[in-house]
């Protein structure tokens, strides 16, 4: 009976979302309600991860494959805590920010519902549950993407839908093939394919490739990344969520799940499919960085940067050794924290000054010092200069690449770090050292509700950089189980 608690963090946000949609609160009450429900949910997640690791729940078992099954293991604790913590900050941030976007009730209900779905992804114990929530995620984030309702937003929303459903279809394809081979899609560390004969190796490899690409669409794998920069039309909290937490990270999370919990590193090595995928990922890393160089719009620049940074995570997954997996998972956290700060800062600039292009923000560092300092710290972390958290994850990644015996991966990482510096540092120089044409030296920070989350997350970033060990140990534990 106690196991039923597992669905609480998944179900509760839905209830909260419905309440918001139906109840028509006043603004203040709604904000409080949203914040309380998100925080409460964080409490649930923490409670669950402390008190019942290893909890299992077959919510609804129809037959071997249609089996809604939740399970708490270390990886899900890892992902769910990340998501819930960041969600709290985003909620607080968006209370203020969404004032100028309007339609807040709708925003908050879908926003909180998305939290539940993402936690559903985190806690799902088999592929079909994951797939189900994955589809729901698309449906729930879609209204957020097209929030403004303009033609442009609808267009990019359409693109988002098409890409996501295309990806999901590929996943389904892989799932069908896999199911016909194994009759089982439960997540088990080291995979469920241990005793499959070699004659099916082509089918397995086909299914892995197809699923990787399918989930890779959400994780913005080049050449399926086009929806991500387009989705920039969404309000900033949404894009930060899309880019930093919920959507792309769900893709990466799902990839970890299928790679290590369904196929298992051994089997994938046997199929040799990783080679093709590595090429795609390297292209993603480099192309994302290069494209980011060209973007004048700040948000777009960050979006392309996301593509390249996600490439790191995927690289960590696909290299199939412990060190790289640790690096990949660390980067999953670090990138989430960093990117969300960057986006929040951009949003704060947009909110207070209405400026979106890099050319416009000259001198803004003096106008909004706190915001820009946070931006700077995060940029440095993203570039990966020690002792920031970005360094820790990249170090592990590079190590993993070296273990594989290929010096080319560290080289790529370095090149990409250089490119990252090239596209992020100009923003900072522009903001701090250039004098704008019409400099108003008035200090004009964004409202408190926006600044506080930014500062908090930046603190987390710094802390993660200075004291990486607790997380590192935890991640190592996970990786040990898997390889």
């Amino acid at each position: 009976m106690k196991n039923l608690l597992i669905i609480l963090p998944i179900l509760f946000p839905f209830l909260a979302a419905i309440t918001i949609a139906v109840a028509k609160f006043q603004e203040k009450k709604r904000n409080v309600f949203a914040a309380v429900s998100v925080i409460l949910n964080l409490v649930f997640v923490v409670y669950l991860s402390h008190h019942m690791p290893g909890g299992k729940l077959h919510l609804l078992k129809i037959n071997e494959f249609l089996d809604i099954y939740f399970k708490i293991d270390k990886l899900s604790i890892f992902f769910s805590s990340l998501v819930s913590i960041l969600w709290v900050f985003t909620t607080i941030y968006s209370m203020e920010y969404m004032k100028h976007e309007g339609k807040e009730d709708r925003f908050f209900s879908y926003f909180i519902a998305t939290l539940g779905i993402t936690l559903g992804i985190a806690f799902s114990g088999n592929l079909i549950t994951l797939y189900l929530f994955y589809e729901f995620l698309t449906l729930a984030t879609f209204p957020l993407v097209i929030h403004s309702g303009s033609k442009e937003a609808l267009e990019s929303g359409k693109k988002y839908l098409i890409y996501s459903f295309g990806g999901a279809t590929l996943v389904l394809f892989g799932m069908i093939i896999l199911f016909s081979l194994t009759n089982n899609l439960t997540f088990v560390p080291k995979g469920i394919l241990n005793n499959v004969s070699d004659s099916n190796i082509y089918l397995i490899s086909l299914s892995y490739l197809v699923m990787f690409i399918g989930f890779g669409v959400k994780a913005a794998l080049v050449p399926f990344h086009a929806w991500l920069p387009q989705a920039m039309v969404a309000p900033t909290p949404v894009s930060s969520l899309l880019h930093a937490v919920a959507v792309v990270k769900s893709g990466a999370f799902a990839l970890i799940r299928i790679t290590y919990y369904i196929f298992g590193a051994e089997v994938i090595r046997k199929t040799h499919s990783a080679g093709y995928l590595t090429v795609l990922i390297v292209i993603s890393i480099l192309m994302g960085s290069f494209l980011a160089l060209h973007q004048e719009n700040l948000k777009k620049r960050l979006a392309y940067s996301t593509i390249s940074q996600l490439g790191y995570i995927l690289l960590g997954i696909i290299l199939l050794n412990e060190s790289s997996l640790v690096g990949g998972m660390l980067h999953l956290i670090n990138h989430a924290v960093i990117k969300i700060t960057l986006f929040f800062c951009t949003g704060a600039i947009m909110y207070t000054t209405g400026k979106t292009e890099i050319g416009q923000i000259a001198g803004i560092g003096r106008q909004m010092p706190i915001t820009m300092w946070c931006f700077t710290i995060s940029s440095i972390s993203l570039i990966g200069i020690p002792p920031t958290n970005g360094f820790v994850s990249k170090w592990n990644l590079a190590l993993g690449g070296l273990i594989d015996g290929k010096a080319v991966f560290p080289a790529i990482l370095l090149l990409s770090a250089l490119l990252t510096a090239m596209y992020l540092l100009p923003v900072i120089t522009e903001a701090f050292f250039k004098k704008g044409d019409n400099v108003i030296l008035l200090k004009k920070e964004a409202p408190k509700k926006m600044v506080i989350p930014i500062v908090c997350i930046t603190m987390i970033t710094v802390l993660l950089g200075l004291f990486p060990n607790p997380i590192l140990v935890f991640v190592r534990e996970i990786a040990n189980e898997l390889i």
Partner: protein
Amino acid sequence: MLIDSFPLLTVLLLFITASIMPLLKKSNLVKGICIISFIVSFVMYLATLNRVLKTGDYFYRVGHFNAPFGIEFHVGTVECIMGILFTFVAIMVIWNSIYNIHFDIREDKIPLYYLLVNILIASLLGIVFSNDMFNVFVFIEIGNLASCGIVVVKDKKENIKAGMKYLIMSCLGSGLVLMGIAFLYSITGHLNMTYIHNELVKNYIHYPRTILITLGLFTVGLGVKSAMFPLHTWLPDAHSNAPTTSSAILSSLVLKGYILFLIKVLYRVFGIEIIRNFPILNIILVLGCLGMILGSIFAIFQKNLKRVIAYSTVAQMGYIFFAIGLGTELGIIMSIFHIIGHAVTKAALFLCTGAIIQGTGHKNLDELKGVGKEMPYTLGLFFIASLSMIGIPLLPGFVSKWYLALGSIEANKTLLIAVILASSLLNAVYYFPVSINGFFGEENLRGKIYKSKSKSLKELLPIIILVIAMIYIGIDSQSIINLIKTGLV
């Protein structure tokens, strides 16, 4: 046992109540009688299914003559499920029509309309249960006339045109079917399906060409009637112009009756051992694939909402043909399961569409942007139903796609999975914009005063029940599939 004769009794009941209708003056009374007759039939089928599950299939002798001379009903699990399905969907559709039929049809034609509906469903049930080829043919013709009747009853220019097209195409179909029956009769000397099968198994080696021609005649003839891909041309016109109630019945039930007869012809009359020697299943498979893909592609380019759904029917019938064409046991099971799932879903979709068109007065997709603000519940139901078409897990659409994919792996046709998935993607391409533009597109509302055109709960209830039934079919798919399996063995 009287319970044995329930299938026959329901058919008789529907025909007899139909003949009462023209006598009545009040249209409410007609509606009441119609719905009560269906409810009674529904209960009877439940009882029959219960009995069949307990004691097994049986042949029911109609009248006083034994099998080869007299007419027989074959009452098995699948037939009972179909009976329950048909009557259930008919109840819901008619319940819905009670509130809004007068928008479509002149008051004095309402009794005639319900008469036709009753006759149509009765003839479909006859097709499902009868074990006698010629008897089925007669039912087909009755159903044919009745279904044309419920298309033209609206008395508009387009309706009559569509009805004419429909009539010509289905006469073509029934002519071919009749010729097929004639061929079978001349080979075997029987009209009873069981006896034909026994004779054919003994002699089919001697008549390879005749059997090939016969198979072709049946496939094409029934293909015309059940909108097999290149022969579907009549369907979009007929289904989109007919009154909503008729579209729902035509799309979700009528096609299914014919396709069930095709399944019976292929697997019960000929039997898998015989048709395996002929390429007919592969042809059906290919045509099913084409239908799945091209039906969806045509649907994407339609501007009229009802036509979109009509073309989607073509695509969905493609799935059923695909399942038949697989030629495995799983294939047949899934074709029947898809018949069930699609019937319920499509009925819900058409009823929602009808409510939307009626509420707003617009038919075209462009004009329906923002309709979600005015009729949120109706569009919400539409959305849930369309999710099943797209294939979101737990809903019947997903279940049948999943098993079809497994079936095609089982039949060593792995590549066909790509067809299934492509088709479900295409489904998404034309179903999502309807809901999305409905909920989020607001251009049409600008400058208009917001007013809710939503229907009252009472009027939405049949659609809600249909949607709930659909979700139930999806969630409880395993037991339904097992039930079908027991019926087939």
